[in-house]
């Protein structure tokens, strides 16, 4: 199946991920008037895009709308504005021979689905024939190590773990070391969820990153921040503080299979200039998909 088809299939139950009823709003043979704009604003706010971006889009769209007469024409303008929210995706470094193993550190606040996303990534890389190792560096939350062990089992990949309460930086260090010694292609580092406002916990995260790059200069090659689609404007503050601490390089948006629109990710991607790489649209392993803004926005309007 081609990428677009696959993506649309994934979207079949989440067609309305970012914006519901948008098409409906435009397809009606409506005039461009105050009430159309008000409904548009409501839709944008309800998608958690945030008031700043909403205002920005509304302003641009309304400026351009002066030359237009029907809502249908406005649709293209609107589509372009939405696409412009997502920065261009960077090439993945996975095939860079110098970066072997490719070290990915997974971070985020509590309960966004870090471990699940990491587990799905392990399965994905494994199915691509890569040698994968997981470092269970969430030594804090009760039973977190057991959870990641179950994922390692499922994906039949290696795992490096210490006991609960151990220094996570040491686990990460050992994980990278084992990855290098055993000729792994990918090392995934699971970290404990933490609120971005807890200074000491963010310092701990910095330390994990430092110890990883100590063992392997240039690593981690990727810092994947996992965001929950139901999160509101707080995601901006999460992203900012995580970025300050460990330099987020890409984003994953989980739990998009509910009714949340996840619009905040656009604001996050825009403010950090880090691409949205994966979206989680279900419990199944195949439900972690690569994200492409172009296809995504087009699919919304089909």
């Amino acid at each position: 199946m081609d990428l677009i088809g696959k993506f649309k299939k994934g979207l079949s139950k989440t067609r309305d991920i970012l914006l519901t009823d948008v098409n409906e709003l435009f397809s009606m043979d409506r005039k461009i008037d105050e009430s159309l704009f008000e409904e548009l604003e409501e839709i944008l706010v309800m998608s958690d895009l945030g008031i700043d971006i909403t205002m920005e889009i509304m302003e641009k769209v309304s400026k351009k709308s002066r030359k237009l007469s029907t809502a249908d024409e406005l649709k293209e303008v609107f589509k372009d504005e939405l696409k412009a929210l997502f920065p261009v995706k960077e090439e993945t470094l996975l095939n860079d021979p110098k970066a072997k193993p490719h070290v990915i550190m997974v971070v985020g606040v509590n309960g966004t689905g870090k471990t699940t996303t990491l587990g799905k990534l392990a399965l994905k890389y494994k199915s691509e024939g890569k040698k994968v190792l997981i470092a269970a560096a969430d030594t804090f939350r009760a039973a977190a190590i057991e959870q990641v062990e179950i994922w390692a089992d499922r994906a039949s990949v290696s795992i490096v773990k210490h006991r609960a309460g151990a220094d996570p930086a040491a686990v990460a260090f050992d994980g990278v070391e084992a990855g290098m010694a055993r000729g792994m292609d990918v090392v995934l580092i699971d970290t404990a969820g933490r609120l971005h406002t807890q200074k000491n916990l963010m310092d701990e995260l910095r330390k994990i990153k430092r110890s990883v790059s100590k063992r392997m200069p240039g690593a981690p090659h990727e810092v994947l921040m996992v965001l929950d689609a139901t999160t509101g404007q707080n995601a901006l503050s999460q992203a900012k503080l995580f970025n300050e601490a460990v330099g987020v390089t890409s984003l994953a948006l989980t739990k998009l299979d509910g009714t949340a629109k996840g619009g905040i990710v656009a604001a996050v991607a825009k403010s950090m200039k880090a691409p949205l790489k994966y979206i989680g649209i279900g419990e199944g392993v195949e439900d972690l998909q690569e994200f492409d803004a172009e296809i995504f926005v087009d699919a919304l309007f089909d």
């Binding site: 009760a142 977190a144 739990k255 299979d257």
Partner: protein
């Protein structure tokens, strides 16, 4: 908590209060800003619209316009409307119906159900009940282990569920074994899934039917955006919720969900989770929360926390000691540990009225500082603690080594202790009767 919203609102109010008279235009401009602040705080779009129109209706009345302090009046109106929006009064947990009583916790994955179950168990035990934790999440890897570990941390019995058991069977068996264990309140930690997951909803309904819980509580993440209302509505439709617990309020969450859920579903917010520790769960009071949001502080919660943490007998003993100038480093440490029991210092200061939140953010209070102080005092001999004057060079060196600090740290502590003692002596000479409220810092 609500800091962003508070800042924005206070900026608006400052402008309004600065004027002697208010025109309709002034008020409308101000309310526009309030609306933006609400939307930025994730308050539901429709709820924001309704609240603003309610405030506007009252604010444009003659009473306000004619008032000598129109700005002040508007703050009062906003306070009233926020309180109403959040539910007016605190609603307590319901234990009626079958004995033992059961409380079911439901919610999305990652909302904090399991952690909240542990916190709630501890809260119930403090309030004289005998909780029994029942893990029913047989799907998420290691979810049962997580609750079992939490249970053993706080010393609350946990039903030995296994991932092979059916959820309804777990619940019915748990009721029997709760009675055997002499427990009177079951806390049922259900599996987290999306609210549109039909299978899960059916499972929750089956559990509800089999054990007839006295209370079904939705655990929702304070960081949730506009979807919070949809989530609450779908759970409520299927299960008829008794209330909501909002978790993770300790971050810089906008908390707008808190302001919206009651307004849309009519179901009250009963508790808020305010930290990682198992004690970090607070009953929710709409009026107190409204005054926190509007930067008027929450002294009531502060006093309650102090009462919870401070032992009255010990306080009286302390008063005597202070009066006789016999307040030793040992007592000093007791004081510190009871203050720490109340929660993080930052959170406590945030409850006091008139504290500038921005200044607070810049202060960067590190709770670990107290760990250091404790370590230093713990490294002293009993004699040294009773008589700090004997602590000289070599003793200082030993104490610093023992506590993993430096001699400077030890000096700093001794200095702040002697300064506190000087203040106490002055008070004693001045004949101030009660020093009960005087903490050493």
């Amino acid at each position: 908590m609500f800091d962003n919203l508070s800042d924005k609102l206070n900026a608006v109010f400052k402008k309004l209060k600065g004027r002697g008279t208010l025109t309709e235009k002034n008020i409308e401009e101000g309310l526009k800003q309030v609306r933006l602040a609400l939307l930025e705080a994730d308050v539901n779009y429709r709820v924001a619209k309704k609240v603003i129109s309610d405030i506007k209706e009252r604010a444009l009345g003659q009473d306000v316009m004619d008032s000598l302090t129109p700005g002040q009046q508007i703050v009062k109106i906003v306070y009233d409307e926020f309180t109403t929006m959040m539910g007016d009064e605190h609603e307590a947990l319901n234990f009626g119906g079958a004995t033992p009583a059961s409380i079911m916790l439901v919610g999305l994955q990652g909302s904090g159900k399991t952690t909240t179950a542990g916190k709630l168990a501890l809260f119930l035990r403090k309030n004289g009940r005998k909780p029994y934790l029942v893990p029913v999440d047989v799907y998420r890897p290691a979810a049962i282990e997580q609750l079992q570990k939490l249970g053993s941390q706080i010393g609350v019995p946990v039903f030995p569920s296994t991932a092979q058991m059916a959820p309804v069977d777990i619940c019915t068996e748990a009721v029997r074994s709760a009675i055997n264990e002499g427990c009177d309140t079951l806390l049922i930690d259900t599996a987290g899934r999306l609210h549109i997951d039909e299978e899960l909803m059916a499972e929750l309904e089956a559990i509800k039917k089999s054990i007839k819980p006295s209370e079904i509580l939705l655990v929702a993440d304070a960081m949730t955006g506009q979807d919070a209302v949809n989530i609450a509505e779908s759970f409520d439709k299927r299960l008829n919720l008794g209330g909501v617990i909002l978790s993770k309020m300790d971050g810089d969450a906008r908390g707008g969900a808190a302001l919206s859920i009651k307004a849309v579903t009519g179901k009250p917010l009963k508790f808020i989770g305010v930290g990682e520790k198992t004690t970090a769960l607070e009953p929710f009071y709409p009026d107190r929360m409204a005054s926190r949001i509007l930067g008027m502080g929450d002294t009531l919660s502060f006093i309650e926390k102090a009462q919870e943490a401070v032992d009255i007998k010990k306080a009286e003993e302390l008063e005597k000691k202070l009066r006789k100038n016999q307040f030793t480093l040992e007592d000093f440490m007791d004081q510190i540990s009871s203050v720490r029991k109340m929660g993080s210092i930052k959170e406590l200061i945030g409850m006091l009225p008139g504290i500038n939140k921005k200044q607070l953010a810049g202060m960067n209070i590190d709770d670990r500082e107290f760990v250091r102080i404790e370590a230093i005092i713990n490294s002293m001999t009993p004699q040294e603690r009773r008589d700090h004057a004997i602590i000289k060079g070599s003793r200082k060196k030993r104490i610093a080594m023992g506590s993993g600090t430096t001699v400077q740290d030890v000096n700093k502590l001794l200095k702040s202790y002697t300064q506190a003692m000087k203040v106490v002596k002055k008070f004693n000479k001045g004949g101030l009767r009660s020093l009960k409220n005087m903490l050493p810092f």
